[in-house]
Amino acid sequence: MGTPRGDRLAGEAPKWSGMLNRLSQVLTECATGKVSGVIRIAGEPGGTVHLADGAVVAIDTPGAPGPEVLLLRSGRVPEPGWAAAFTAAAASGEVGAELVRRELIGAGELEALLRMALADAMFVLAAGELAEYEVDNTPGDCVLPLEPAIGPSWLLAETSRRLAVLASLPTPVEHDRDRWASARGAGPAGLALGSGQETILALANGRRTARDMAFALGRGVYAVTLQLAQMHADGLLVPGARRVVPAQPSDSGHRQAGQDKAQDAVKSADVTAGEQVPPLPRRRRGGTAQPRRGRPAGGPMDRAALLRLLRPGAAGTDEDSM
């Protein structure tokens, strides 16, 4: 949309380092305590960090492709081969060893891929927002754990490096907010051949962020982000509609979050002045949904009044549950 990003990033750098510090703290505590289990992070994108004796074996997050997507979507391992290895390893749970045994991928190459997947996942966690986290000493399920597991220092140092690189780009790209479309006239003539730019252009339909393209291509989010920044600077891509995400509630259970989301949903519906919109029903614990008021008799309802209605506590009780 052409809005300058520089100011935003200058303000964001402290947020990123704040998030990185929080992650660093949690990971270090878990490393010291030799935790085997998971750290569940609620936020945007949020995710789950799998630990064995305090070292990281895997990270699941909606914000970055995991090893399975990286292997399959890139075409590195064909689907039938994966399916066969997955089935054969069902008893042992060692899909990685089975892939190597079947010569679908080399052990060194798989280890490199798993390390890169971890770095990518940590990067998106650190660049995102954290609402709350919990440490659970029950190990979670992990399809492709990294062996040997790694301590957090390499992950955190690499994440810090990546954030610094992105912050210093002349044309910054937010991997989970900026969407991209191909620039008018961007064609084969302008492409750096052999660099994978053509696959990016094919995906650039104005609806995809770097993260979305990474999932579609089976590549890392950070790697795609760098490429998008370069292609934007080269005039091959133009920004599409930015993704608008409400700020994470910092100390909220699902109950409050649900009400905030309903409020946001109505706000974002962009109801025009002439429309009358009755208030959303508020659920009462143990009962069915009861409308707060009947429909207004006539005249446009004041949108501000509607939103006041939806604010927690407006009814005099916030004993409501979604």
Partner: protein
């Protein structure tokens, strides 16, 4: 316009939950009301979603599992979730492999409620013109 409000709600859901690639709102008999899709054919999606929701509801009832919450289809490349919107419509959400279904199911509820509100508005306030599929 009602359709603008609906599209805005669909767009806001796609913004809010990372991993959603396409959404559509359809009538229970499989006709598209409005959609926010890229390469997927909304008409085909609507028809299949209606069939799938109907089947899932019957299955849930047959298995004694109560009211259907959502019907989800998972593939190697992602998933499709269908939610009932009142008794007359349904919401289809298509996502990639990174879509967190648990989160989607939580986040879609306010959207479903808001859509219901807008649809009821459209049906009641306009002299019986009802919803026109376009």
């Amino acid at each position: 316009m009602i359709e603008d409000a609906l599209l805005a709600l669909l767009g806001a859901l796609r913004d809010r939950v990372v991993g959603i690639t396409d959404t559509a709102l359809a009538s229970r008999d499989g006709l598209i009301i409005t959609s926010d899709t890229a390469d997927i054919d909304p008409d085909n999606l609507a028809a299949l979603a209606a069939a799938s929701l109907g089947l899932a509801q019957r299955m849930s009832a047959e298995a004694g599992k109560g009211t259907l919450r959502e019907a989800t289809t998972r593939g190697s490349g992602g998933c499709v979730a269908v939610y009932a919107v009142g008794t007359s419509a349904l919401l289809v959400v298509v996502g990639d492999e990174g879509l967190d279904l648990g989160r989607l199911h939580r986040e879609s509820r306010p959207t479903v409620e808001a859509i219901e509100v807008v649809l009821k508005r459209g049906q009641s306030g306009l002299g019986g013109a009802g919803m026109a599929a376009s």
